[in-house]
């Protein structure tokens, strides 16, 4: 077998340009598939990573009923406000570990003669535990009745840096939307979440935020439960309790992280399907290229086929010889394609630094293996033709 592969390589190398051209179909196909899957896989990992930052055992309640996930309040009006009392009622449910009530808006934050417009989050002080955020310095205001506010604020590290530079900020005062807050803590850097810089923010008590932004109700309640097994039970209980509190109307939307990931998963499946279709078409095109090339090669090499039959090659060996040749062509094409695809992916990553791109090694190996299989399939007809040649006819061709 090793000798047959060597013979096949020599045959492929014997017509360098022609071999390269016939590999081109498979190479381009594989390259594009590798590039697309790299972007797809990169995006998938990026999104999953983003969600994992906050933990996965989390569900969110927003006011308003929406038929589709992600569009709350568009289709139906709110009849009952989502209140802090609602949030407190959920706190008492079995399996619930933390409740975060939040209300947010943009406001100007001023201190030290400097100012900046940023997102200001009105939250409950348990977000370090609930959202897996870490406090670098100081801490949140003491937990207590969230309906009562206090004039304390926690700054994101970037906001702190912008306002105070290297100076100590703890205990200093900032103006947020015209109201004075004392800085009680500075957050650890967390980076971006789906493009929003969550280091460039300020956190204040939710009651203060409602007043500051003049909001009639809270924007969102996060319910954090102990483990994934509780997901369905907690979701059911949340609906039951809130519906009861809202006079039997489900005028709110519950979204579990699982549901969000499911939607995302469906999108990814469609993309995967599309990439699969492209792969299929390009492999078909590549296979036709190799079939054509091998068919011509058999015609050109009838003399050689007759000769090897005369010196003791069986029909099977002739067949294997041409099959191997087709497989070698396709494998080389596939390998070039993988290299090209990964090169393009690297180039893209270099050109657009934020773009999530990831090429899993298994994909690369799989792509080459599929190319080999395609080559074998494409080689079947030409190899059969070669094996079926009458050796004398083949030898008389001069």
């Amino acid at each position: 077998m090793r000798d047959l592969i060597r013979l096949a390589f020599q045959a492929v190398a014997g017509h360098k340009l022609r071999s390269l051209l016939s590999m081109l179909g498979i190479a381009i196909g594989i390259a594009s598939v590798i590039l697309l899957t790299s972007i797809g896989e990169g995006t998938r990992r990026y999104i999953l990573g983003q969600f994992a930052q906050f933990g996965t055992n989390i569900l969110s309640v927003v006011p308003g009923k929406a038929e589709t996930v992600g569009l709350p309040g568009v289709l139906g009006g709110t009849t009952h406000k989502l209140t802090l009392d609602d949030a407190l009622a959920l706190q008492r449910l079995a399996g619930v570990e933390e409740i975060v009530a939040n209300a947010y808006g943009t406001a100007r934050v001023e201190a030290n003669g400097r100012g900046r417009s940023v997102y200001v989050y009105g939250v409950t002080p348990n977000i370090p535990a609930a959202w897996r955020f870490r406090v670098r310095q100081g801490g949140f205001w003491p937990a207590g009745d969230p309906r009562r506010g206090t004039q304390l604020a926690v700054l994101g590290p970037k906001l702190k840096q912008e306002l105070f530079g290297e100076e100590n900020a703890l205990g200093r005062f900032v103006r947020i939307g015209g109201s004075r807050f004392r800085v009680s803590g500075i957050m650890e850097s967390k980076g971006q979440f789906i493009g929003i810089d969550i280091d460039d923010t300020a956190y204040i008590p939710v009651a203060n935020a409602l007043r500051l932004f003049n909001l009639p109700e809270i924007t969102e309640i996060h319910v954090i439960y102990a483990h994934a097994g509780l997901a369905d039970g907690v979701e059911r209980e949340v609906r039951r309790v809130l519906t009861a509190r809202h006079n039997g109307k489900e005028d709110f939307t519950v979204t579990t992280q699982k549901a969000m990931l499911d939607v995302f998963g469906n999108v990814m499946n469609v993309i995967t399907l599309a990439v699969g279709a492209i792969a299929g078409i390009s492999l078909l095109v590549g296979a036709i290229g190799i079939l054509t090339m091998m068919w011509i090669a058999v015609g050109e090499r009838t003399e050689e086929i007759g000769l090897v039959r005369a010196i003791g090659a069986t029909r099977r060996q002739v067949q294997v010889l041409f099959l191997t040749e087709a497989a070698v062509l396709a494998t080389l094409g596939g390998a070039f394609g993988v290299l090209g695809g990964m090169g393009l992916a690297a180039l893209l990553r270099f050109a657009i630094p934020g773009l999530p791109i990831h090429t899993p090694m298994t994909f690369a190996v799989l792509a080459v293996a599929i190319s080999t299989a395609t080559g074998l399939l494409a080689g079947v007809l030409p190899a059969r033709r070669a094996a079926a040649l009458d050796p004398i006819e083949a030898l008389r061709t001069e």
């Binding site: 047959l4 090897v308 005369a310 003791g312 090659a313 069986t314 030898l395």
Partner: protein
């Protein structure tokens, strides 16, 4: 070694039957040196391919080393060719992209011989045709005589008992031709049965026996030493 009885081979050419061999009876004992002569189209190559188990006769029977060839399967025929028969052709039929050594190695690759043994035998075979210094030359880097010697090394590397040559000197100048013929004589002296197709009386003269074919019929058999010119041989 070889026994032919009433061998017939007819080709169909555009609906017309072409009788390439008609009722050929022949006996070639092991170790004999036979030449086949005859005008162009008389069936010489067809007879040689039949002897080489490449062509199957339409009727008649062919025994090779005691076995009737008609009964053998395609696989078995390949096996016979691989181990017992060597071919030399007028147009060499070397694989152009392989080196001399690789061309000689080819039959052993198909026979599945181990690599180390192949190397040894390639070197020995090329040394025996005086081409030890041309191992890595490709056919287009060799002269005609050298190419035919490579082909001869390839034909003998499996140490066949029967060597079949179709106009082995047809494409060579006199001195290269003589070199090839000397090598063939040498092999025959060492016991290899030799059948040579030729137009050339001087080639035929070296044979122990000459068979003359005309239109597929064996018209004469004579000792090699009695061959004079071609013209009188083919006259009916």
């Amino acid at each position: 070694m070889i026994r032919l009885e009433k061998i017939c081979r007819t080709y169909q050419l555009g609906g017309q039957p072409v009788h390439a061999l008609v009722d050929v009876d022949e006996h070639v004992p092991a170790g004999e040196h036979v030449a086949i002569m005859g005008p162009s189209g008389s069936g010489k190559s067809t007879l040689l391919y039949t002897l080489g188990c490449l062509d199957r006769p339409d009727s008649g029977s062919y025994w090779l080393a005691g076995r009737e060839v008609a009964r053998l399967s395609d696989e078995e025929l390949t096996d016979v060719r691989r181990h017992h028969i060597g071919f030399v052709f007028q147009s060499f039929h070397l694989v152009p992209r392989l080196t001399a050594a690789e061309n000689v190695e080819l039959p052993m690759v198909f026979a599945g011989l181990p690599r180390a043994e192949r190397r040894e035998r390639v070197e020995a075979a090329l040394a025996s045709v005086d081409l030890s210094d041309r191992l890595d030359h490709r056919p287009d880097q060799l002269s005609g005589g050298e190419r035919q010697r490579v082909a001869l090394a390839r034909a003998t590397v499996m140490q066949p008992r029967l060597l079949l040559a179709d106009e082995p000197t047809g494409n060579l100048d006199t001195s290269s031709g003589r070199q090839i013929l000397d090598l063939l004589d040498h092999l025959n002296d060492a016991g290899t049965t030799l059948v040579v197709v030729t137009h050339d009386p001087s080639v035929a003269r070296r044979a122990g026996r000459v068979i003359v074919l005309v239109d597929g019929h064996v018209v004469r058999r004579l000792p090699g030493g009695e061959v004079m010119g071609a013209a009188d041989l083919f006259a009916p």
